[in-house]
């Protein structure tokens, strides 16, 4: 296991360098830079633009800037955001906690509902439940996130003032509340966004669960189990479900990388404090160091998530072990 870990961790280094270098180049190939945003402002003279260029180091050659950035990262200095003129770390840190809370809550919501429903519809294949729930799943998959978010904001308004807040991460008077009410306030603000983000994730998961179970339900070892006289309940939960879970373990690892940019449009509609919109705006404004900081964190989360998923797979599936993985 140690060998496996060391090997995987070492593999990450060239991957991270490669991904960041390509992102850096791609950002620089776009015509213009962050200062292009200011050039059309009649009050900002070309002389000021030149000064800012020098201050931000945008007048230096590409590779020099990349190496400087990388050198900074090694010292845990992710550079300055050009738009906000504060460190990238502080911008990301201000949003990280709320992003994680939202992502974790909507993931929990999606999984808690999707897996049992997936089992029900698979066990009762072609029943009325299967039809109805599958229809809803397709509906959930095809409705765009931001549109559902609008519907929910509208729903909140329709419900009336004191029910659900139509947006925001917490109330404006959050600071003046006591602890219990702060928690209540947070949860209150989470309900609608969790529902919106959860529905989209849930639909896909449920379909996957259904097809996994259907596939395994008809395999030989299940027939053997039934032939042994095991009860249907034991067959489904002990034999079928256990085997159906493998792809979900891998998926859980991947979704760690989604934490970062998954919800930009929903964030915009429901004005949630999150990293998605920050990153999207940074890309549009060519705020290169902010983009690079986000890309770096996203890459690390994805790689670590994969690693964790692989290790979890070894734990749940006796057919997989570290030696076979390390040799891949």
């Amino acid at each position: 296991m140690t060998r496996f870990l060391v090997r995987r961790l070492l593999n990450m280094i060239p991957l991270i360098i490669g991904i960041t270098l390509i992102s850096f180049l791609a950002m620089s190939l776009v015509p213009g830079d962050y200062l292009s945003n200011l050039k059309m402002n009649p009050k900002i003279s070309p002389e000021v633009i030149h000064q800012l260029q020098a201050q931000f180091g945008l007048d230096q050659p590409l590779l020099v800037r990349y190496v400087k950035w990388l050198w900074g990262v090694l010292h845990l200095d992710f550079g300055y955001s050009l738009q906000y003129r504060v460190s990238v770390t502080s911008l990301i840190a201000a949003r990280a906690l709320n992003t994680v809370i939202l992502a974790a809550a909507s993931m929990a919501f999606a999984w808690m509902l999707a897996i049992p429903i997936g089992i029900i519809v698979a066990v009762r294949q072609n029943s009325i439940w299967d039809r109805v729930l599958s229809f809803l799943a397709f509906f959930g998959m095809s409705i765009p996130n931001f549109f559902l978010a609008f519907l929910m904001v509208y729903f909140a308004m329709w419900m009336g003032k004191d029910w659900l807040p139509p947006g925001g991460t917490f109330s404006v008077d959050y600071n003046s509340l006591d602890f219990a009410n702060r928690v209540a306030d947070r949860i209150n603000h989470l309900i609608l966004p969790v529902f919106v983000l959860g529905v989209a994730g849930m639909a896909g998961l449920m379909r996957l669960m259904r097809s996994q179970i259907l596939e395994i339900k008809n395999s030989d070892f299940v027939r053997t189990a039934r032939a042994k006289g095991l009860s249907e309940r034991v067959v489904i939960y002990k034999h079928v479900l256990r085997n159906a879970l493998n792809p979900f373990v891998t998926m859980a690892g991947y979704s760690l990388g989604d934490l970062l940019g998954g919800a930009a449009l929903v964030e915009a509609v429901m004005n949630l404090q999150g990293l998605g919109l920050l990153l999207l705006n940074a890309v549009r404004a060519l705020d290169i160091y902010l983009v690079m900081g986000s890309v770096l964190i996203g890459t690390v989360l994805l790689l670590v998530g994969n690693l964790l998923a692989d290790m979890a797979l070894v734990a749940v599936d006796p057919r997989v072990d570290f030696s076979s993985m390390a040799s891949q």
Binding site: K43, R95, L113
Partner: protein, 564 residues
Amino acid sequence: MAKRPVLIAVCALALTAGCQVRRAANDHARQQILYTAISSDPQTFNPILVTDAYSGEILGDVFESLIRINPVTTLPEPGLAEKWEIAPDQKSIIFHLRRGLRWFDGQPLTARDVLFTLDVIYDPKVPNSIRPGLLIDGKPLKAEAPDDYTVVMRLPKPFAPLLYAIGIPVIPAHILEPVWKAGQFNHSWGINTPPSRIIGDGPFRLTRYVQNQFVRMERNPDYWMSDEHGVRLPRLHGKVVQIIPDANATYLRYQYGQIDIYSPRAEEVLDIRQKIKTGRLRAKLQEIGIDTGERFFCFNRNPRHYVKNGVTDPKLTWFTDLNFLRAIAHSIDKKGIINLVYHGLAVPAVSDVSPANKLFYNPNLKDYDYDPRLAAEILEGAGYHMADGRRVDPSGHPIEFNLTTATGSPEADQICAIFKQDLGNLGIKVNYQPLEFTTLVEKVESTFDWDCVMMGLTGTIEPNDGSNFYRSSGNLHLWNPNQKTPATPWEAEIDRLMDQGAFEMDPSKRAPYYWKIQQILHDQLAIIQTVRRKDYVSWTDSLENYRPKVWGVYKPEWMQFKVD
């Protein structure tokens, strides 16, 4: 059996839905707290370093300037300076500061702070957008303080726009001077500075800022202004500026009562009007005037782009041919644009200055009427004939050019589509491709690789603020920027008029110079106008003394909620 987890999940949901915060209702009127919204985070809390509109909007309440502009009369009126005198030779201005002015931390605000602010603005190491407006022929003005309450500014020569440019936010020397001397000014008062450490002198002070969420402000009890009964202003106890990136969501929040003031887009104006009429929205809706900005088409006339290796691209000939340009101007269907794109809530734009600018708007220009037949006749008369269904120039080149604008505005997109179709009827082929803003700016500003662009610039009261646009040497002189010497006699004339207008101190004698500039741009069709929006504002019924104008809010300190 398998239903149990579902049951648990449903219970959990029901539980969270019942999770209500127990507190008094969030009543804006009772608390006298005004809720508004902006679409993006502020980028700095340092009023000198501001380059974005959102920081400016917030800091406008926190920092006061020597004089301010009255949004009704568009004339300067007292701010920190209770009065000012212009010397007979018009080369010095004496400002008399109010007595007893205080910063948020209780320190007195004196002439020293004003001098310090000017020092910072003129410091070449501090990039700021205020300096260009305070340079007179490229030279700074000299300021001195004979005593704590007097500032004398000496100008190298008379400079009328100074009264509009001197409305700079004054910053506290006792806090920022050490920072500036240590070379840290450019990193001071960023958005992660604790709001209580932003020391200003305006009607409100910052109390809390949560990125992506809101800015909170509370009333400054020491603010200098008081009403006619001697009661200190402002009347509002506080403000909350929510940051809501999506315009549709903002509109929903306004209808929900979470925001008290909203500037509706054209289609929303009709919706709000309907809802007020049927009693579903208790609000007011008012047209505040014609927008200060407009949208126009501009053709590239830059020889640096069109003349290569001694060969001139025929496009340059078309784009500098007045007949060609006049035909284009006559084929822009402004009425169609107003009705289709702005639901009737716009007016044709004729001059590059908005009619809202009462001091400088030239009302005598005659618009180019929409007349496709006349347009075709002008083209025929100038030798642009039809051949195989396409319009060709006198030397036989088919007329075809690229049109671009910035992505992200449905209105711009529709106007361009209408333009493309109208020119198509004349046999002119327009290739329309919108570009990301930064890419567009690079093309217009640096590579000059464009044919025709549709864009908008926002207007200011003082025409001299548009120097970069009017002067042939300016970088925003879109059709041919950064010229060493004016390429045409009319551009030379505009340069001359800009000088004369700036050095004439008598306001009534200044207007004719700027009228002439508007006339020249109109005749030469350097920019071809489309339309200007009518601006509307809607606000909740209980808000009183709110008087919005296109140039800002009149007497904002008097705003308050009616409590019944």
